[in-house]
Amino acid sequence: MDIKLADAAEIAVTEMPPPRRAWPAIRRFFSAPAALFGAIGLVLIVTVAVFAPLLSPQNPYDLMQLDIMDSRLPPGSESFAGVPYHLGTDGQGRDILSGIMYGLRTSLIVGIASALVAAIIGTTAGLMAAYVGGRTESIMMRLVDLQLSFPTILMALMVLAILGNGVTNVVLAIIVAEWATYARTARGTALVEREKEYVEAARCLRIPGHRVLLRHLLPNCLAPIIVIATMQVARAIGLEATLSFLGLGASVTQPSLGMLIANGYQYLLSGLYWISFYPGIALLITIVSINLVGDRLRDVLNPRNAR
């Protein structure tokens, strides 16, 4: 019976924040042309990445399909067997276009996975800190401040220096470098919510802590966290590309965009620009699209900007 009472009260308090209508928000989102561009770019990129095996002219990971005779061909040339290479080939005779499609997959997976895990860890930490308060909170936030005072690249380098190179370690490095941002945001929003009366009410009703956290504090922090996560996917992709470019990242057999660019770097000065250039363009489109979408999301989800 106790439980029932608590549930009823909880249902009542859950409804305290006004329900959001999805449709007007979506319409508002697309009212900005930049956001529309971003969204189109994003859909395109995700489609290409998901359906890469179907869309790409060649499987760039299958060494049997590569022919050294076809290496370093300029864009528009044809293979020995007569297949056109629209964007040229790299040093191993790999089709650049196919490389980009598969590279996008690696980049997106790394970006999304690391942003997601960092978001979960950071948000949990931030919420816990805000809810528990006291010493735990101050120690945790000290740690966050400290972490944020170091540039991401340095944190990532530190992790890679300790763990060694490789894709998994790059993901780990990005998580270590980025979790603090989420923690600070989650705590900030949760602190505002924590002082509100419905949380107080929930506490008085002895609703267990984890339920207050999950059902009251978390939903209120979600909007800013989503915005940050969107932007962080772009940052993570950029960071992964940077680390791969520095030779600390993804394996050579399944190159990400950064790796492709790095591979072409040695040919850049001899004028074989396409090996680096086209993957670079793909990276640019990816990052800019995600940022445009994230930027618009921030405007739309920010209650202060709502009209």
Partner: protein, 324 residues
């Protein structure tokens, strides 16, 4: 004010100490130094000898103590690659990185501050909007990508500027600098611009936000009511109020410039600390890695400390509060 300073100093010391623990545990426990340090072709007896030589058979706390002992004397061990003390190897590269970072900072300030001021004073103008859009690009594009485009455009296509190395250097204050020779200066342009891009956007946006906040203030209106010329209002009344946040950021970001020079140095073959650390990670040159990381930790902690002091000096309000 003294008590605050002392408390800050103690905190900073504690952070450095904590970081030594992290770096030590990281390198010696998580990564297996035996695997990293010892040639796998060696036989068992030889391996054992190396382990003993490096003190890796000692208990962990003793290893940590001797690590701290070495640290306090600036001794990180000899670099495996260069067979010299690791710290010496790094310090040799310091001027190159410092030069690059300083140049980038100057560019970022000289470009970012006026543009931010302009965009903040006239937010409705088309040129301001263009500046802001440009700064978003500067924010979101990865540094290495822009560096590549610089090389492609200015070095390969146009052939205007060199894209690799420091060029000719000249001696000054006991170190060699590129900016003192024409050739060195030409080599400096692209890397410095590349490194400056992100910071320029940052300073620009910060300045703009600050201007928009300050122009709303009554004291700006009062300055107008006094009949001051617009130039003086902007350059003295508005700019001086902006200096506090901007100087803080410049100070903080100088450290991150040195950290980010890792990327720029690798692209442009600039022989500084950043390129060294990447090479060292790839070659598993552990003493150099540890020395670099510790140096960075000390750099960042001291930068934060110095900024705290600057803050007190710049803002007369903080100064008084500290006294009272």
């Amino acid at each position: 004010m003294m008590t605050t300073l002392i408390r800050r100093a103690i905190q900073a010391g504690f952070v450095v100490f904590a970081m030594t623990l992290i770096v030590f545990v990281g390198v010696n426990v998580i990564g297996n130094p035996v695997d990293i340090l010892i040639n796998p072709d060696l036989n068992q007896a030889e391996r054992l000898r190396v382990v003993q030589n490096l003190g890796l058979d000692q208990p962990l706390w003793r290893q940590y103590l001797s690590f701290l002992h070495g640290l306090s004397q600036g001794n990180f061990g000899d670099s495996f690659v260069y067979s010299k003390p690791a710290l010496d190897v790094i310090v040799e590269r310091l001027p190159a990185t410092l030069e690059l970072a300083l140049c980038a900072m100057v560019i970022a300030i000289v470009v970012g501050l006026p543009l931010g001021l302009y965009a903040g004073l006239y937010p409705e103008r088309l040129s301001s909007r263009l500046i802001m859009t440009g700064s978003i690009l500067g924010f979101s594009l990865p540094t290495f990508w822009v560096g590549l485009m610089f090389i492609l455009l200015f070095a390969v296509q146009l052939g205007w500027l060199p894209s690799n190395g420091r060029g000719e250097t000249a001696e000054f204050l006991g170190a060699r600098w590129s900016f003192l020779t024409g050739d060195g200066l030409a080599h400096l342009v692209l890397p410095a611009l590349n490194l400056a891009l992100f910071k320029t956007s940052l300073i620009l946006r910060l300045t703009r936000a600050g201007v928009q906040e300050v122009v709303m203030q009554d004291f700006v209106k009062f300055a107008r009511a006094k009949g001051l010329r617009e130039g003086r209002i902007v350059l003295v009344h508005i700019l001086k109020n902006l200096m506090i946040p901007v100087v803080t950021i410049i100070g903080l970001e100088f450290g991150s410039l040195i950290a980010f020079s890792v990327v720029t140095e690798s692209i442009f073959g600039w022989p500084g600390m950043g390129k060294l650390i990447i090479d060292s990670i790839n070659l598993l040159d552990r003493p150099v890695i540890v020395a670099y990381l510790m140096m960075m930790v000390v750099l960042f902690v001291s930068l934060n400390f110095i900024i705290d002091i600057c803050y007190t000096l710049l803002d007369p309000r903080v100064r008084l509060d500290g006294k009272g």
